[in-house]
């Protein structure tokens, strides 16, 4: 199910590369200013046909990363490179049609990402017309083939139906069909299954995976659900307070999480194997976890907190197997052969069993 996600020696540049991307939101004025650094120093690479998972909770900045890649918001710092070309430098004000053709996005809420006054056919027709991807085919045929590729051809008369007449899963498939109409090279899926019925989630993820493999599309899957990331992606990046704190093969990250936050995440997921109780992870609720100050944003909650964590943000430390982590527990010279126990006691790791 998951591709290995090795980055390998690149003969040509990656399909998408983000270099030290950052986004700061400023709101209010005159003494009431609020500065929120939603995305900090985010760097990643995606190849064609590869699936990359971006995992984090609300406030981690993952949705902002999605909107940055889709160029719905402008980055404050950093670069976005598509096929090696710096798109922000080339088109600073608004993205070209070519960019829209190459990069598409699937939104989280299938109930609000489709316009209620337009039919199913209209949604697909617009996408086809804008990018001219129907070619010589009549629009109806192109629409039908799109619906077929997402598994909606069995619904009678669907082309003239309105979104509210479809179920959540069907709407999400329609949204996927719409992005496919543009024949993109890269698709960013922002929590595509979180607002869809449980029994339908697997189908949607399978569909995305099949389309990715059939059409060699790069897929970035943004989710808060670790199990989805494990199921559907080869590589996963874990985000916290706008930073990427850990990166590696999806199964590896979940089986042997290194960063204390990743360990906390993995330990917190409910598991049916822990019938009648499960571990207790004692944690007081926090009111949001935005990065303030210069130190590691996770320090206040970290059981392995050290004094250096409050003053400096750790650099990305490569570990074996292509993984890396941003944590002071892992200094240079650590090959990552350290087992589940980090230097200090008090990890969440024990509870992840």
């Amino acid at each position: 199910m998951s591709t290995s996600g090795r980055l390998g020696p690149a003969e040509h540049p990656p399909l998408l590369e983000l270099r030290a991307l950052g986004k700061t939101f400023v709101s209010g004025r005159f003494g009431n200013r609020r500065v929120v650094k939603a995305v900090n120093e985010v760097s990643l690479q995606v190849q064609a046909g590869q699936s990359l998972g971006l995992v984090g909770e609300s406030g981690s900045g993952k949705s902002t990363v999605a909107r940055l890649i889709a160029r719905l918001v402008k980055p404050t710092v950093g670069q976005i490179l598509l096929d090696g070309r710096d798109v922000i430098a080339a088109e600073p004000r608004s993205p070209s049609r070519e960019y829209r053709h190459q990069v598409q996005m699937i939104f989280q809420d299938p109930f609000s990402s489709l316009n209620p006054v337009h039919t199913v056919g209209y949604h697909l027709e617009r996408a086809l017309r804008i990018h001219g991807t129907a070619g010589a085919e009549p629009i109806e045929a192109a629409t039908a083939s799109l619906l077929d590729s997402v598994g909606l051809s069995g619904v009678p008369g669907i082309v003239s139906r309105y979104p509210h007449e479809l179920s959540g899963g069907q709407r999400q498939r329609l949204a996927i069909a719409r992005t496919l109409a543009a024949r993109p090279a890269l698709v960013v899926a922002d929590e595509p299954t979180s607002m869809v019925d449980v029994s339908v989630r697997v189908g949607i993820l399978n569909l995305l995976s099949d389309l990715r493999q059939d059409r060699n599309i790069g897929l970035i899957l943004i989710t808060h659900d670790l199990a989805s990331a494990r199921y559907s992606t080869g590589q996963t990046l874990v985000m916290y307070a706008g930073f990427i704190v850990e990166s590696g093969a999806s199964e590896q990250i979940i089986a042997r999480p290194m960063h204390p936050y990743t360990q906390l995440l993995v330990a917190s997921v409910p598991r049916r194997s822990h019938v009648d109780g499960g571990g207790t992870v004692t944690e007081k609720d926090r009111d949001g976890h935005a990065a303030q100050g210069a130190g590691c944003p996770f320090a206040p909650r970290c059981p392995s907190r050290m004094s250096v964590c409050d003053t400096t943000m750790p650099a990305a430390q490569p570990l074996e197997g292509g993984r890396w982590v941003r944590c002071h527990l892992f200094g240079p010279g650590d090959a990552g052969d350290r087992g589940p126990e980090p230097k200090n006691a008090g990890s969440y790791q024990d509870l992840a069993k």
């Binding site: 199910m1 998951s2 909770e57 609300s58 179920s167 019925d197 449980v198 029994s199 339908v200 989630r201 697997v202 189908g203 993820l205 399978n206 808060h224 659900d225 670790l226 199990a227 989805s228 494990r230 199921y231 199964e251 979940i254 906390l264 995440l265 993995v266 330990a267 917190s268 997921v269 409910p270 598991r271 049916r272 194997s273 822990h274 019938v275 009648d276 109780g277 499960g278 207790t280 992870v281 004692t282 944690e283 007081k284 609720d285 926090r286 009111d287 949001g288």
Partner: protein
């Protein structure tokens, strides 16, 4: 182990009259809740689990029609007079509704909301009610100093704790929680559920935990019931329902959901759609989607039969192998 039976639900059905016909959202559901247990109710959207939750407190909208019986400590709830009903609600059984944390009054402090609830169901003065607030907040893990905060000033997790505080304000014996952590992050979810476990140890109330997240329900409940199409299809101890699911729907649900355990292999989701609840299907509601369906299963509705100790299932595959119907809860 025979504990005091707190709530006995027998043949509960709830129907709504709509222009298209009668929608049977809940169809002949029976179960019993004992003192101090956590009873998990799992199912997808449209399975009727939320309707059951609301029916237990009779807070469904006016066009709902109830039939059957809901007995709390022997007293019939569905025919209770308004005075007794007001005492029953919140002091005996309280409800945390889906998305409740977003339904807190945005222009009232959390203190005043708790006071409102207390005074709506009891006859204490405003001062007395206000005095009870700090302790209640501390009980759920909120700093009492924040009692004058407005809901939007609190994080999602803290708002949910407020809602739980409101639900516990009159120390009920049973709390019904409908998707209490669905909108919350997984870390916050765990801390809320842990908090709930601590509160249960301390106050001894029972919980009906309703969720579509089978893993959550399995992890936290002692008994689990699965609902499909308005009916109860399987009930049993959480460990055996998860390890040895009897009903094909439970099996399909478990095998089509992603988890962190086990090898990663391609999963197949359930084909078909949930049943149309208009009118009544003559046979098993799961028949059109069942991989193990056999001819004849669509002719008669299967009744809930006990197959193993405490583990019941409503499925024709077991009708010969089982002891004839024992109503849920009357086991020994």
């Amino acid at each position: 182990m025979p504990d005091e039976a707190l709530l006995e639900v027998n043949g509960l059905s709830v129907g709504f009259a709509t222009p298209r016909g009668v929608v049977l959202a809940v169809n002949d559901v029976s179960f019993t809740i004992y003192r101090g247990e956590v009873f998990g109710l799992a199912g997808e959207s449209g399975s009727g689990k939320s309707t059951v939750a609301h029916a237990l407190l009779r807070v469904l909208q006016g066009s709902a029609n109830y039939s059957g019986s809901v007995k709390f400590r022997g007293q019939e709830v569905l025919t209770m007079d308004p005075v007794r009903l007001r005492k029953y609600r919140w002091a005996d059984v309280s409800l945390v509704m889906q998305g409740a944390m977003n339904a807190l009054n945005p222009v009232a402090t959390i203190q005043s909301q708790i006071v409102d609830v207390i005074r709506a169901h009891t006859h204490v003065s405003r001062r007395e009610a206000r005095a009870a607030v700090p302790e209640l907040l501390e009980l759920v893990g909120i700093d009492p100093a924040r009692r004058r905060a407005y809901p939007h000033e609190l994080s999602g997790g803290m708002r949910q704790r407020c809602v739980i505080a409101v639900a516990l304000a009159l120390q009920p014996s049973l709390v019904v929680m409908d998707e209490p952590t669905t909108a919350l992050d997984v870390v916050v979810q765990r801390s809320i559920m842990d908090e709930l476990a601590r509160l249960r140890d301390r106050l001894g109330f029972s919980v009906i935990l309703i969720s579509h997240d089978l893993d959550l329900v399995a992890e936290r409940s002692s008994r689990v019931a699965i609902m499909y199409g308005g009916r109860l299809v399987e009930v049993g101890p959480a460990s055996s329902v998860v390890a040895k699911p009897l009903h094909p729907y439970t099996e399909a649900l478990l095998s089509s959901s992603m988890s962190l355990d086990g090898p990663v292999h391609r999963l197949v989701d359930l084909p078909g759609k949930p049943p149309d609840l208009i009118g009544a299907q003559p046979g098993c509601a799961f028949f059109p989607r069942c991989a193990k369906a056999q001819p004849g299963h669509d002719l008669k509705v299967p009744s809930l039969l006990e197959v193993e100790a405490g583990h019941q299932v409503a499925c024709h595959l077991y009708s010969s192998a089982a002891v004839p119907a024992i109503e849920a809860g009357a086991s020994e």
